[in-house]
């Protein structure tokens, strides 16, 4: 069975440009997470979906970040415009439901120059 698939793996953009990340969770997983991870630190939650509903998005900088999960399956995370401080690894994870483990994708490493 395929795991969580993220694309692209790497992205380099100039500041003020838009960027989008895509995530395909494990089939049947209702919960989808987007995390941001800075070097040497733990993942920080940006947004969590239960099916197509965003239920935790308090840490998402809504002035520049947006996310969607169409039909409760794939999800995209967008930044517009990107800032230098957005350089980080963006991780997507999915889980089957309550009290279960999360499965992570390989992440997208974003560099804003």
């Amino acid at each position: 069975e395929a795991g969580v698939v993220q694309s692209p793996r790497y992205k380099i953009i100039e500041k003020k440009q838009p960027v989008a990340f895509w995530c395909n969770p494990i089939s049947g997983h209702n919960t989808l997470y987007w995390y941001l991870q800075n070097l040497g630190q733990g993942p920080e939650l940006l947004i969590r979906y239960e099916n197509e509903e965003a239920v935790d998005d308090s840490q998402l900088p809504k002035d520049r970040f947006s996310a969607e999960r169409l039909k409760g399956v794939d999800s995209t995370l967008k930044i517009q415009p990107a800032e230098l401080g957005d350089s980080a690894v963006y991780l997507c994870a999915s889980s089957l439901g309550k009290n279960t483990e999360a499965f992570f994708g390989q992440g997208t490493r974003l560099t804003v120059v």
Binding site: G42, P43, A93
Partner: protein, 112 residues
């Protein structure tokens, strides 16, 4: 914000030795999970321990949970060079559904 705090932040041991990492958290939990991350890779789930469990084993891994002290430990026995990675604890909270909150991690180096 991060719920869990790992201790130590970095640990260096010789192959064959045991490695112990600790995690403390602040609010009541449904479960606590440990993950491993190799450099440049995604996180891999190791063990999930529920709030009503006190100890769990998986191969060379042993996890304990003390809800009265709001702490957990991960023990890796007979470490190998391939165990070199960052280890994170994550908590799922009673009042937050499936929200999974991570600590800052322990960076383990096992020297051959």
């Amino acid at each position: 914000s991060q719920q869990g705090e790992e201790d130590p932040q970095a640990l260096s041991i010789q192959e064959g030795e045991n490695a112990t990492m600790n995690c403390s958290y602040k609010t009541s939990i449904n479960n606590l999970q440990w993950y491993r991350q190799n450099s440049g890779r995604g996180l891999v789930h190791l063990i999930l321990i529920r709030s009503n469990e006190r100890e769990k084993h998986s191969g060379r891994l042993r996890v304990t949970l003390d809800t009265s002290k709001k702490s957990s430990s991960l023990l890796i026995t007979a470490s190998r060079a391939a165990d070199t990675a960052s280890y994170f604890c994550a908590t799922m909270n009673n009042n937050a559904g499936n929200m999974l909150t991570f600590g800052g991690g322990t960076r383990l180096m096992v020297k051959p």
